[in-house]
């Protein structure tokens, strides 16, 4: 989300505010959450913080624009500046990144948008436009809006997009603050009038002397149920968006998933979620088929009754079988061959490595009872995926970066169960997950310490969350990102985020290696290309993070360790000591 932070007018004196800052900077998101609840509770009854408790909630105003060649965008910023000058707190958002569901959080929408193509919306906002036009778009009865439409009257569909927005918002129950203004290429004058009329129509800053603008987007709502989600009691969330980040031709594509989070989870940057995936329906059907079992037969798992198909779909691992399963299967099938394999532990191991459930069932036919079958199978294990966003930047969503895992199995190629399930999810689908803390993969408390962030592939996910957190909490650490993937043009995961972070001064250095573009180069080469910097930063107390593929990152760490230990002064700490000091953080899989 690309919204500028809200402008807040605070009821605190400058001295109070300053005194508060050092403390606030140290709080992690759970602590902030707790504190916000604590203070809110303390504020009751109303006298101690009268405005926060009594006054009508501050008008939340969004200035939004849709622009292709920059005219509407420039006007939106002009409008924002005028609003600021009048003391009107507001957010400003580009419809290219604003989500429809975010609109519902605002009471006022001032929308400036042009028309392009042959009466089409500006290219960047196509997704928003489509979402708003959908028949099932949510109603917006609480919203008041005004539209400034930019266009060119020499086109047949003059200001069409602005008109569409106007009509659609009205149809969804929103109230027009003032009539839409359509502008031709000489839009400066009419735009000026519209802006001042629009600002006049908003509740003025003076009205409630000290409006407190909660930074609503940065603080997760409090909910007591949060702690109790677990593997056993997963939270069901809705998929908002699933974007394939990789090029179409890449087999093991990486996807970016955005999930709606309506209750807060006790997680922060560096943490993960456990995902409970479903087995592919085709695999479940194939197994029911080969075993001639009916889907609807009832079985009981952990004391819960459910149809067999659900147990196979959600609760059991249908790929990898255990030795116990194999022994039982030898009996069930009455196969001597299988009994022979089971008897020899080396042969059994090798067999299990090359045969999955459906291979075994096909080769050694047997007809187990449904309950016996589910009892023999291994339970489906949750898979962990790191948070790719920070709740203090995007509170009500959960972002994951998932690579579709594929591996060779005998002569066929198999897909990883959970990753395939995840990358195939569509918006509107739901998914079960639970919070998973990574206590050892957190940002250092001391906000001065520099960070060295090393990742391969999806290992970049937690760093996106780190950077979002640094931005939202106003921390200015030195940060150095080192990233490896396949190809610069196709696989630079979240490239725009990193460019923005660098432009904003959140990331000082970004070094990349793309294996296909520069064969032979690896992550350690990248870090050691500026070995002095590495040493200097570590001497300054930097924390170093490694995330992603175990083999490659362990190799990277080893190379860094060797180089570091060989070159260090006697007085400096050894790599092992750094590790003991908990300054080397690993998240490898």
């Amino acid at each position: 989300m690309n919204m500028a932070t809200s402008l807040a007018t605070r009821p605190l004196s400058e001295a109070q505010w300053q005194a508060l800052q050092p403390l606030l900077r140290q709080l992690d998101s759970r602590q902030s959450l707790w504190l916000s609840g604590y203070l809110a509770a303390r504020a009751e009854p109303a006298e101690s913080l009268p405005l926060a408790a009594n006054a009508a909630p501050p008008a939340s105003i969004l200035i939004a624009y849709g622009s292709e060649t920059g005219n509407s965008e420039a006007l939106a910023w002009q409008l924002a500046a005028q609003a600021t000058a009048r003391g009107i707190a507001h957010d400003i958002g580009n419809l290219a990144t604003v989500r429809l569901r975010q609109l519902a959080k605002y009471q006022y929408l001032l929308l400036i948008c042009s028309t392009h193509g042959d009466g089409d919306p500006p290219e960047p906002i196509t997704a928003f436009h489509t979402a708003l036009m959908e028949p099932r778009a949510a109603r917006l009865p609480e919203l008041a809006y005004a539209v400034l439409a930019l266009g060119d009257s020499s086109y047949a569909q003059f200001c069409r997009t602005g008109q569409e927005f106007d009509e659609r918002l009205a149809a969804l129950g929103a109230r027009a603050l003032l009539p839409r203004q359509d502008c031709d290429v000489d839009y400066a004058e009419p735009a000026r009038h519209w802006m001042s009329a629009a600002l006049d129509a908003l509740p003025q800053a003076g009205a409630s002397a000290a409006t407190v603008v909660a930074t609503a987007t940065t603080v997760a709502p409090v909910a007591s149920a949060a702690q109790s989600y677990s593997k056993q009691r997963p939270l069901t969330v809705e998929v908002l968006n699933n974007v394939r980040l990789s090029a179409p031709q890449r087999r093991s594509a990486t996807h970016h998933l955005e999930l709606a989070l309506d209750v807060p989870l006790p997680l922060q940057a560096g943490d993960a979620v456990g995902v409970l995936a479903d087995n592919p329906p085709a695999l479940v059907a194939a197994i029911l088929d080969v075993l001639q079992l009916s889907a609807e037969q009832a079985v009981t798992l952990d004391g819960n009754a459910m149809p067999l198909v659900q147990a196979l779909r959600q609760q059991r691992n249908l790929n990898v079988c255990s030795p116990r399963f194999l022994e039982a299967w030898a009996t069930l099938s009455g196969s001597e061959e299988l009994a022979g394999i089971v008897a020899d532990s080396a042969a059994q191991k090798a067999f299990l490595r090359s045969h999955q459930l459906r291979d075994i069932a096909a080769r050694y036919p047997a007809h187990p009872e449904p309950q016996a079958l589910v009892d023999l199978l291994r339970p489906m294990q949750p898979r962990l995926y790191d948070l790719a966003n920070s709740f203090d930047a995007v509170a009500d969503e959960l972002h994951l970066t998932v690579q579709h895992y594929r591996y060779a199995f005998g002569s066929r190629e198999e897909s990883g169960i959970a990753s395939e399930y995840l990358v195939q999810l569509q918006p509107g689908d739901s998914l079960r997950l639970y919070p998973h803390r990574h206590a050892r993969f957190q940002l250092p408390e001391d906000p001065q310490l520099p960070l060295i962030l090393i990742a391969e592939g999806t290992g970049i996910a937690p760093y996106r969350a780190f950077i979002q957190h640094l931005r939202a909490s106003g921390q200015h650490r030195r940060c150095w990102l080192l990233f490896a993937e396949q190809q610069f043009e196709q696989d630079f995961l979240y490239q725009r985020d990193w460019q923005q972070a660098q432009a904003d001064g959140l990331l000082q250095h970004i070094d990349t290696v793309f294996y296909q573009d520069e064969p032979g180069r690896n992550l350690a080469d990248l870090a050691l290309a500026d070995a002095n910097r590495l040493r200097q930063w570590l001497d300054d107390g930097a924390h170093l993070y490694l995330c992603g593929d175990t083999v490659n990152l362990e190799a990277c760490e080893q190379a860094l360790q060797q180089h570091y230990d060989a070159q260090r002064d006697a007085s400096a700490r050894s790599w092992e000591q750094l590790s003991k000091d908990k300054r080397i953080h690993r998240n490898l899989y």
């Binding site: 042959d118 290219e123 060119d152 020499s154 086109y155 974007v243 980040l245 725009r496 990193w498």
Partner: protein
């Protein structure tokens, strides 16, 4: 003609070079800061976080012949994927007069295979463009171009652009003489800054010298400046679309000099009233040897008086309209030391390329290979590669986006013809009549300014267009047709009998009534028309033309004579 003795009131100079820098357009300040076109290009090339060159340097790179672009076909998809646009570079060569050797062609072929996408592209100013070059390979690419004896200096930017030169295969000696002058003019007018070898060839960076570019100074020109030479009766280069045109005057098979014309230009913005295409006006005559020096003087006048506040009004055509021909002739006479002699009689008959084999007066043979929209795709590139494995002649690119085989010895001609047939290239010598009279600009997906398709749409449009012509028995009548993806007019649409200029995907302005030899501007006939509408509009006009035309009368001339164009009479150049 005016005489230089009459002193006129001083020209209004409130928007030119004489004004304080801070009042001028931001581009002027950028040029001034650039240390003679160096900027931070060299550092930007090293930045690995992006495939683009950061900041304002892209503007400076144009002076070095390089445009930063991105593949617009995948822009949306990449934005979704949180990737930056697929940045890449278009590089335009400087090939004055369009002449290449066989070896140079082979080098260009190999370079395109190694570094570029979509083959090679012959432009409407008879040079080559490469698309899709990536940043990390840009320097290697530029060195490879140098190694075959070519460069890209001033192929774009606010400077003297590629100097074009028309053809007259029948008058070989004169053509050679004029082509040599075109080359001399280009060499004389290009920037001299050391930035080019430093950035692209890795020459040791030098601190900029005080007068590093004496002809230009730190601010270069207000805008691009285009010079062309033409040898009647072909107006192949569209002399009336040049900022400065030299029209060869031939008497007794000798080049006696040039009529000069000034102030042509195509570009316009649909959103501004004070923006328009303009024909160059013929103002006088000069001796042939003077041409390069003359070009320098005219360019100097534009440098000193051109608009540097409003970039759109900075072209020479607007300078002339703002300050007037009398002012120009006076200033010219002053700088040149004498007034212009009166123009001589000349006559143009067409603006296409000659077809079939033509023999020059020196006995050597020439022919034209039709290249649709100038695009040499991978298949055609392979065919040409095979052709040029053995070939004794020379190669010439044309402003009609074609490739010519020139200076083929009589004894080799037959062999070349056979090889063309073997390779399936012979049909390009006698192309479809309409294709031979059609031009289209690059537009999507690389051109950042395109509003509609051009090059990629032309084959589809031609099918419809040819069917329409057939219905009216016009299949054998050539009509100049030009399609450009936006109003800038890179295919010189406003000089065609029929033109489409892009407005939005699938929508075009329809222009009609230019002349077959390019001396009259076409007029806007319909706005924002789609293909169906265009056909509907042309239908009745073709019907009347088929019935009522006079012998040899071209479509554009007919429309004017029959007063079928609204509202006022079209503007036409002097001859």
């Amino acid at each position: 003609m005016t005489t230089s003795t009459i002193k006129r009131s001083a020209p209004n100079r409130d928007c030119d070079l004489s004004q304080p820098l801070q009042d001028l357009n931001a581009n002027e300040q950028l040029k001034q800061r650039s240390r003679y076109l160096r900027g931070n290009i060299a550092e930007g090339l090293k930045e690995r976080l992006t495939g683009a060159v950061p900041g304002d340097d892209t503007l400076l790179m144009k002076f070095h012949g390089i445009y930063q672009q991105d593949d617009r076909d995948c822009r949306n998809d990449r934005a979704q994927r949180m990737l930056e646009p697929l940045y890449q570079f278009m590089v335009r060569l400087r090939i004055p007069g369009g002449v290449l050797s066989r070896e140079q062609w082979q080098g260009l072929d190999a370079i395109s295979r190694r570094y570029a996408e979509r083959g090679l592209r012959i432009t409407t100013r008879q040079t080559l463009q490469f698309h899709g070059i990536r940043k990390r390979e840009l320097q290697a690419f530029m060195c490879a171009i140098r190694d075959i004896g070519l460069d890209t200096i001033a192929a774009c930017g606010d400077d003297s652009r590629g100097v074009v030169c028309g053809a007259n295969p029948a008058l070989s000696a004169i053509h050679a003489e004029v082509a040599a002058l075109a080359r001399a003019t280009s060499d004389r007018l290009i920037p001299r800054t050391g930035a080019y070898p430093e950035i692209w060839y890795g020459a040791t960076p030098q601190p900029p010298k005080p007068q590093e570019d004496p002809l230009y100074g730190e601010l270069y020109l207000p805008r691009k400046f285009k010079v062309g030479y033409v040898i009647p009766p072909a107006n192949d280069i569209d002399i009336y679309g040049q900022d400065l045109g030299f029209i060869a005057v031939v008497e007794d098979r000798k080049l006696v000099g040039f009529n000069v014309c000034v102030g042509g230009g195509m570009g316009q913005l649909d959103t501004r009233e004070d923006s328009y295409p303009r024909l160059a006006e013929q103002l006088g005559f000069i001796d042939s040897a003077e041409a390069p020096a003359f070009a320098e003087i005219v360019m100097g006048i534009q440098r000193d008086y051109g608009d540097r506040k409003d970039r759109h009004r900075a072209r020479f055509k607007y300078t002339l309209d703002r300050l007037g021909n009398d002012w120009f002739l006076d200033t010219l006479a002053e700088r040149r030391g004498q007034p212009l002699a009166p123009a001589r009689a000349i006559r143009f008959t067409h603006n296409g390329d000659a077809r079939g084999w033509q023999q020059g007066d020196d006995g050597l043979w020439h022919t034209t290979l039709q290249i649709d929209s100038g695009r040499i795709d991978h298949a055609l590139r392979d065919q040409l590669q095979a052709l040029f494995q053995q070939y004794g002649g020379r190669i010439r690119l044309t402003t009609n986006q074609n490739l010519q085989l020139t200076h083929v010895a009589p004894e080799e001609r037959e062999a070349v013809q056979w090889r063309l047939e073997d390779l399936g290239l012979a049909e390009r010598l006698q192309p479809d009549l309409q294709e031979a009279h059609t031009l289209s600009c690059v537009a999507l997906p690389t051109c950042g300014l395109a509003m509609a398709e051009a090059e990629r749409y032309t084959p589809d449009f031609l099918r419809v267009f040819n069917r329409l012509k057939e219905q009216h028995g016009l299949a054998q009548t050539p009509i100049t047709l030009r399609i450009s993806g936006c109003p800038n007019g890179c295919a010189r649409p406003y000089l065609a009998e029929i033109a489409l200029t892009g407005r939005a995907p699938g929508l075009y302005h329809l222009y009609l009534g230019g002349s077959f030899h390019g001396h009259r501007l076409a007029q806007l006939y319909a706005s924002n028309a789609n293909e169906t509408r265009i056909v509907e509009l042309l239908q009745p006009l073709f019907a009347r033309y088929a019935r009522q035309r006079q012998p040899q009368e071209h479509f554009g001339d007919f429309l004017v004579r029959a007063q079928l164009l609204n509202p006022s009479q079209p503007q036409a150049a002097t001859p």
